[in-house]
């Protein structure tokens, strides 16, 4: 009898392992579907992804998979959803064993560890659509494997949150519910700090960016007991996404706020509930068609976003580095260039901005990117990224 039990258990375990393996391979195999033309040597680049479902993440992936990978001799390999620093480290090591030459990171659990792991595995590393905090950048800017970072700077993140909060304060709302997304992710911390300042409130008695940001980092979230309202009250606050989030969202809706301000991911997670509840909301996300519909037919009234191909320049910088044309500033440091957000407050705004960038005809298309692929100076590259293309 015991032998039988052992056998059956072994079979069950084997089935679980096989199913798990299929699961793990499923998304990777979808990336491997497209074969590159054998004429040029294909460069393998690993992409670290923390979010596999969000509108912004999907639009970025769509651009890389359906435009970049079709126009350049590269193979982009994606991770599954990365939830912590250990997962990021393991993913980089796996990419190294798969023959990747570089890593583009859209995951931010521990970027310092990502750089160190890349260095240990001799992989070039770049941050897309985000930035290290200033202290970390100073520490790693001279690292030969650190290609650089292109995305909204922390100051830009703060300003985006500030403008969003001010928009509602100017509109005359008296109460808001607030979603802090994935604080202590630095960009969410800065955005949340901006929102608090934007609605005219203080946090722990402070009203300047540095002091608010420092306290939110320390609290690992927004502690409502420290918020001193000045016209606009925050009646509910929650962050993260887990089994309890629906309860927290329901509690926020029940508090009957005039508006719901999110520093990220609300259009992905909460659009339907907020539309049903009839609460106007804002978010920092991207200019996708789903968000366009939410702006047209739903209650999304303020959208701060990046466009899909805004991650094109960092790809160009990575490809240049892999091909031996690393772009460094005058002091020989990794590039660090800030990108601004776009803002839509009406469906018309949205349509206008969205029409400028699509997978078929992105803002950073091949013709544009080719101008910086090859030998290019830091100043020319910086001007290329910062040029207003909207």
């Amino acid at each position: 009898m015991k032998k039988k039990i052992v056998k059956v258990l072994a079979v069950l375990l084997a089935i679980a392992v096989v199913v798990g393996t299929f699961a793990a391979c499923s998304s990777k195999s979808s990336n491997d579907g497209e074969e590159k033309a054998p004429t040029q040597e294909t460069v393998k680049i690993g992409v670290l992804v923390a979010d596999v479902s969000g509108e912004e993440a999907l639009s970025f992936r769509n651009y890389y998979e359906n435009y970049i990978a079709k126009n350049y001799p590269v193979e982009l390999i994606y991770t599954e959803k990365l939830e912590d620093a250990a997962g990021e480290k393991a993913a980089i090591e796996k990419f190294a064993s798969q023959g990747c030459k570089a890593i583009i990171s859209l995951s931010s659990s521990d970027r310092a560890l990502q750089i160190e792991t890349c260095e240990a595995n001799k992989l070039y590393y770049a941050v897309a659509s985000g930035m290290l905090d200033d202290e970390q950048y100073e520490q790693y800017k001279a690292n030969e494997y650190f290609v650089g970072q292109i995305g909204p700077s922390m100051m830009t993140e703060y300003q985006a949150g500030y403008d969003m909060g001010k928009y509602f304060a100017d509109k005359g709302v008296k109460s808001i519910a607030m979603y802090g997304a994935f604080i202590p992710n630095p960009m969410h911390v800065y955005r949340a700090a901006g929102v608090i300042a934007g609605i005219g409130a203080t946090y722990g008695g402070a009203s300047d960016m540095g002091a608010i940001v420092g306290q939110i980092f320390g609290d690992q979230g927004v502690d409502l007991s420290k918020v001193q309202a000045n016209g606009v009250e925050i009646v509910s606050y929650f962050q993260g996404y887990s089994d309890t989030t629906t309860d927290e969202l329901n509690a926020a809706i029940q508090a009957n706020p005039d508006a719901f301000i999110s520093v990220g991911m609300a259009t992905t997670f909460f659009a339907q509930q907020l539309n049903t509840a009839g609460i106007e909301y804002s978010d920092i996300d991207s200019f996708t068609s789903t968000n366009g519909d939410l702006m047209k037919d739903g209650k999304l009234v303020y959208l701060v976003g990046k466009y899909s191909s805004s991650i094109g320049p960092i790809f160009a910088a990575v490809l240049d580095t892999v091909n031996g044309n690393a772009i460094k500033d005058a002091d020989g440091n990794a590039i660090s260039i800030s990108q601004d957000y776009l803002v839509a407050t009406s469906s018309e705004d949205f349509t206008k901005l969205q029409s400028l960038d699509s997978v078929e005809n992105p803002i950073f298309n091949k013709e544009v990117l080719d101008t910086v692929i090859g030998e290019v100076s830091y100043d020319d590259f910086k001007a290329f990224v910062e040029k207003d293309r909207v």
């Binding site: 299929f22 959803k81 029940q254 049903t276």
Partner: protein
């Protein structure tokens, strides 16, 4: 005759009191707590909608859990059944209707059918393998979670379940209320008024005796699993309506959490069933849990999610301590009757 009538009247009054004592007490205590902050358990129509949907989810999960647990079969796979049935039905419904009118009702029906089939598979595995149910259910949970991951690629299922039809289902308490009534009627009918139900109760109260008298325990167990699956299909649907997405990345037993919400109401319902129907007990227990959930919502800025989990766990432990020491408490609080001297002599 009048003596008997008085006795019957007392008996009915005792049952009514026993049935309603806990829900009424919970309502009074929680409302008092809310009023102390100038608020109510139910603040507006939105909170009432949430209240009824949460009641439906808790009641149906509790029923599904108790069906097998009362017969000594601990089933860890309930959460994965709910998820898998909802993922399958979301994908199928979207493929058929593309999110248009009627999506919610079609998804509900497919959820129930898929859940019943998944439950049936789980039941057949249990009776075929002849392993302890706890081990079988752990293996089945892993397999179901793996299948979910394979179907979804570990992503949230969103586009398939975010449409006007689903939004209107979740935007009112009426549909959830209808589901509560239908499930209550179905379970009371099946488990209390059919041959299957009599057999189930016989097996529950004494398996050997029941089997010796001709009850077919294997068929009964498999049907129980199928019914559990169908009920968890409804739970999967209601959770999808409530969350507006399905988490397709639940591996390594993370789906078990869905089941654990039902333990406290199951014990409360079991206590209430001493005075009335067990299924009605589960409904009233679910009402209590929903009132607690709504109270947490009122205090969400002060009582965070982890604190709520701790409060729930403490309540469960306290209630179990009470149940296990009921006799002792009665002894302490019951006045000792002096026995007549004669008897002592």
């Amino acid at each position: 005759m009048s003596n008997q009538n008085t006795k019957t009247g007392k008996h009915i009054a005792k049952n009514i009191f026993g049935t309603l004592a806990i829900p009424v007490l919970v309502a009074l205590v929680l409302e008092a707590i809310c009023l102390s902050q100038g608020k109510n358990i139910i603040t507006n129509l939105t909170s009432f909608n949430n209240f009824v949907i949460y009641t439906a989810i808790t009641m149906i999960t509790t029923m599904a859990l108790s069906i097998n647990l009362n017969s000594g079969r601990f089933d860890f796979s309930l959460g994965s059944m709910a998820l898998l049935s909802s993922v399958i039905s979301a994908k199928l419904t979207y493929a058929i209707l593309g999110g248009s009118t009627g999506s919610a009702i079609v998804m509900l029906v497919i959820c129930i059918v898929a859940g019943a089939i998944i439950g049936l598979i789980s039941g057949i595995l249990y009776v075929s393998l002849k392993l302890p149910p706890i081990i079988t259910s752990l293996g089945v949970t892993l397999i179901f979670e793996g299948v979910i991951y394979t179907i979804t690629g570990g992503k949230y299922v969103m586009a398939e379940v975010q449409n006007k039809s689903m939004a209107s289902f979740g935007g009112t308490w009426i549909y959830a209320c209808v589901l509560i009534v239908l499930v209550l009627a179905f379970t009371i009918l099946v488990f209390d008024h059919t041959k299957f139900g009599y057999d189930y109760n016989a097996l529950k109260n004494g398996q050997k005796v029941a089997v010796n008298t001709g009850v077919k325990e294997i068929a009964n167990a498999v049907i129980c699993y199928a019914i559990c699956g169908a009920l968890m299909g409804i739970v999967g649907f209601l959770n999808t309506v409530r969350n507006t997405n399905i988490n397709g990345g639940q591996l390594n037993f993370t789906s078990i959490g869905i089941m654990f919400t039902a333990f406290l109401p199951m014990f409360i319902g079991g206590y209430i069933s001493r005075f009335s129907n067990e299924k009605l007990g589960f409904f009233l227990a679910a009402l209590c849990m929903s009132m607690l959930n709504s109270t947490f919502a009122v205090f969400s800025n002060k009582v965070n999610a982890s604190m709520q989990s701790i409060i729930n766990a403490v309540l469960l432990v306290v209630f179990l301590i009470y149940l296990n020491n009921e006799g002792l408490l009665q002894k302490i609080f019951k006045p000792v009757k002096k026995q007549p001297k004669k008897e002592l002599e």
